[in-house]
């Protein structure tokens, strides 16, 4: 029964590990790599380092520990001790495991409908460059998506009259929810959804579920156990964590020709971003899946599985429709919305094929649903933050519509070979959005030449690699003024849209 989901999970992890090499280090990964290094140092120094826990674990205090701890342990085992993997791959390895778990749990959710849906649900989720890209990162967005799907599977097992007996199921649920809490603050939204779901269940299942809900009181133990920062002055550290997210800064973000800088944000923002960024067949299938779940909910024809999927998907996206939640970063924040709609969308594909009564209808329907997404990956990977779908008119259309061109600076990967080939020894390069942590990761991974130095601005740089963001348009004229030229030397242009533009001081190697 579980062989198919296991296979989907395994294949996902393999596919991501085989395609990770070209994925640049996003800004946040730079911070998480630094945090993982600090936590690894603490681990290696145990038990003496216990006395300095605060110092090691204060790095990136604003995010809970589980994902970063897994990056640290992976690096300790596969890089520091065994030297089996290079640094970056060792840090990213747990990301592929989380992505595999996501596929596994999505497949399990969809398997309640059909085996075909169990194959198609993870495929539909991953066959888009945006989601595929995020699966590679040592970050929290796919991990929280995975453990949320895991909580859904564990919860439905308890709600089911055939499966849900026994203490071990409740403890497993509590453990998984603890993992969610220890992964990202999106987990705060899960208990209300589970409570409402339990209350809407029929009699015996309701009682069973409400009893299981009490076990979630144990979940903070996982958070506490995995987060040594809480071992000392937990109230202050919990307050700092929560406060950081309640008062999060709003970064400027381009949306339909406007720069969104502060609330109120457009209520439709997350839905429009999904519609424009994903391949069109996936957009239509997700929309039909949402409509189908909502319609059946209104008609009271929704079973416990689909009701939970609707609840979790809704809880993932609704906070971003409040008009005050920070919206930068695009759809990565509500990946759970797409993931939890994927089983229903996959089921729609199988239903469409079955109803047709035609032979080989299922492969045809699956191909129609997935091929544009596969093409998007083939065409754009590893530039996932730049991807847009057919509704936007792909990248050129999205640029004309005034959508955020890219973010997180990982597209700089596209110009590193040019810099390596052209920069004279010791050249100073202004990397713009690439933070010092990511720069160090590029050096460490060998993707950037060791002697190339990090400049703080165009004024003290010989080369500049500018990432095209509307809110950073001033950097380009600033570079022209400093370099005395307005002609780029090189650039990363995706379907003609400027992503990273490289300038060289006149007379430098590679300058026009």
């Amino acid at each position: 029964m579980k062989r198919l989901p296991l296979m989907m999970g395994f294949l996902t992890a393999v596919a991501l590990s085989l395609t990770q090499a070209d994925v640049g280090f996003v800004r946040d990964e730079g911070y998480y790599f630094s945090a993982a290094q600090s936590y690894e140092t603490w681990l290696r120094g145990l038990p003496q380092s216990l006395a300095e826990t605060e110092r090691y674990w204060s790095v990136n205090f604003e995010h809970p520990p589980l994902a970063k701890l897994s990056f640290a342990v992976s690096h300790l085992v596969f890089s520091t001790w065994s030297r089996l993997l290079p640094d970056a791959l060792a840090w990213r390895l747990p990301a592929f495991v989380f992505a595999g778990l996501l596929s596994y749990w999505l497949s399990l959710l969809a398997l309640r409908r059909s085996r075909a849906a169990a194959v198609l649900a993870p495929l539909l989720f991953w066959c888009a460059e945006r989601t595929f890209f995020h699966g590679h990162l040592a970050a929290f967005d796919v991990p929280i998506c995975a453990v949320t799907a895991g909580v859904a599977v564990a919860w439905l097992r308890i709600a089911s009259p055939l499966e849900g007996q026994g203490l071990k199921h409740s403890l497993w649920l509590a453990f998984l929810y603890g993992c969610a809490l220890a992964t990202k603050h999106n987990a705060w939204f899960l208990p209300p959804v589970l409570l409402v779901h339990a209350l809407l269940l029929p009699g015996p299942a309701r009682a069973r579920s409400l009893r299981a809900l009490l076990f979630l009181l144990l979940s903070p133990l996982v958070l506490f156990a995995t987060w040594p920062l809480l071992w000392h002055d937990p109230v202050r550290h919990l307050r700092d964590w929560i406060s950081f997210h309640l008062h999060h800064v709003h970064y400027a973000w381009e949306y339909l020709g406007r720069e969104l800088r502060a609330p109120p944000f457009p209520i439709e923002y997350p839905l429009v971003v999904d519609a424009l960024a994903l391949p069109l067949p996936a957009v239509v299938l997700y929309a039909l899946a949402l409509a189908s779940l909502l319609t059946d909910f209104a008609r009271r024809r929704l079973g416990p599985d689909r009701l939970l999927e609707l609840g979790l998907a809704g809880a993932a996206v609704l906070p971003f429709m409040l008009r005050t939640t920070p919206i930068f970063g695009g759809l990565k924040h509500w990946l759970v919305f797409l993931a939890l709609l994927a089983p229903e969308a996959a089921s729609l594909i199988t239903q469409i094929a079955e109803r047709s009564g035609l032979r080989r209808a299922l492969p045809l329907a699956a191909a129609a649903a997935l091929l544009p997404g596969i093409w998007q990956i083939v065409h754009l990977h590893p530039y996932g933050t730049s991807a847009y779908g057919e509704l936007a008119g792909d990248l050129p259309g999205a640029a004309s519509l005034g959508m955020q061109r890219q973010y997180w600076s990982s597209n700089v990967m596209g110009v590193l070979p040019w810099l390596n080939a052209n920069c004279p020894p010791g050249a100073r390069v202004y990397f713009h959005e690439v933070n010092i942590e990511s720069y160090r990761a590029y050096l460490q991974s060998g993707q950037l030449r060791q002697d190339i130095r990090y400049a703080s601005g165009p004024g003290d740089a010989q080369y500049a690699a500018l990432q095209w963001h509307r809110e950073f348009r001033d950097r380009e004229p600033e570079t022209w003024n400093a370099f005395g030229t307005r002609r780029p030397a090189f650039g990363l242009y995706l379907d003609e849209t400027p992503q990273v533009v490289v300038y060289a001081r006149p007379g430098s190697p590679g300058a026009p």
């Binding site: 109803r355 329907a365 129609a368 093409w375 792909d394 640029a399 004309s400 600033e478």
Partner: protein
């Protein structure tokens, strides 16, 4: 048959999406297209040719900067209001087949400002190049330097960065004074920023919030006579980077 309709629609959607994706490169220029278009601009920019600029369209099509070397490349977003200071000819270098490109609206904006097309568009693969006569009044004196460029309201402007509180004195002739001003970069979007005044003797330009503010005033008679211009920039908040562009036309 009806039962197969959803499948047919899904297949149509998938095939249509894929066809759109796979044919996108046909709507985009190659390096050779860019090089040929740049060559055509170069050929029209010889000695004695009117001062020209290349306006790219859509404004994001900045790969042009890699190829066009004979005349300045500008990425103005509002073609009806752009100043194109000092240029008499405009080359509209466009990607006419990109989705939501809006080339028709760009042409309409040029017509609205009084520009006149000088001939049919020449195509270089997926690029089109159209010469336009801007019918711009001749510049009498450039009162601020155009050596540097600064971004104001998302467009690179050849304006002079001036400290707020400063007084700028320049001399020149002309019958109409044109003033443009704005806060450089992201500081323009600071909450609750104090308004800023540019007093020019013949008029006052108020800069409130973001944007490239403009003032055009007729000067007292005597267009050929040189006169002094004094610009005083005042605001309760002297910290934001400020940019001024001023010139006169005959």
């Amino acid at each position: 048959m009806k039962r197969a309709l959803p499948l047919a629609l899904l297949v149509l959607l998938g095939a249509g999406s894929l066809a759109f994706d796979l044919t996108l490169p046909l709507r985009l220029p190659s390096d050779q297209d860019w090089a040929e278009a740049a060559g055509a601009v170069r050929a029209g920019a010889g000695p004695g040719a009117p001062a020209a600029v290349v306006q790219i369209w859509p404004p994001w099509a900045e790969r042009a900067r890699l190829f066009v070397d004979a005349v300045p490349v500008v990425a103005e977003e509002d073609l009806a209001a752009a100043d194109y200071l000092g240029a008499q000819r405009l080359w509209l270098l466009a990607l006419p087949r990109v989705p939501f490109g809006g080339l028709v609206a760009a042409r309409a904006a040029l017509l609205r400002r009084g520009a006149v097309p000088l001939g049919a568009a020449r195509n270089f693969g997926a690029l089109s190049l159209e010469p336009w006569d801007l019918r711009a009044p001749p510049v009498a004196t450039e009162l601020t330097s155009r050596r540097e460029a600064h971004e104001v309201d998302y467009v690179a402007r050849e304006c002079e960065q001036v400290p707020i509180g400063a007084r700028l004195e320049r001399r020149g002739a002309g019958s109409v004074l044109h003033l443009r001003a704005g806060i450089i970069g992201e500081r323009a979007y600071d909450d609750g920023r104090a308004p800023l005044q540019v007093r020019a003797g013949f008029g006052t330009l108020i800069v409130r919030g973001a944007g490239w503010q403009r003032l055009d005033v007729s000067l007292p008679a005597g267009a050929s006579a040189e006169r002094n211009f004094a610009f005083t920039i005042a605001s309760a908040d002297a910290s934001p980077p400020f940019c001024l562009q001023a010139w006169t036309t005959r």
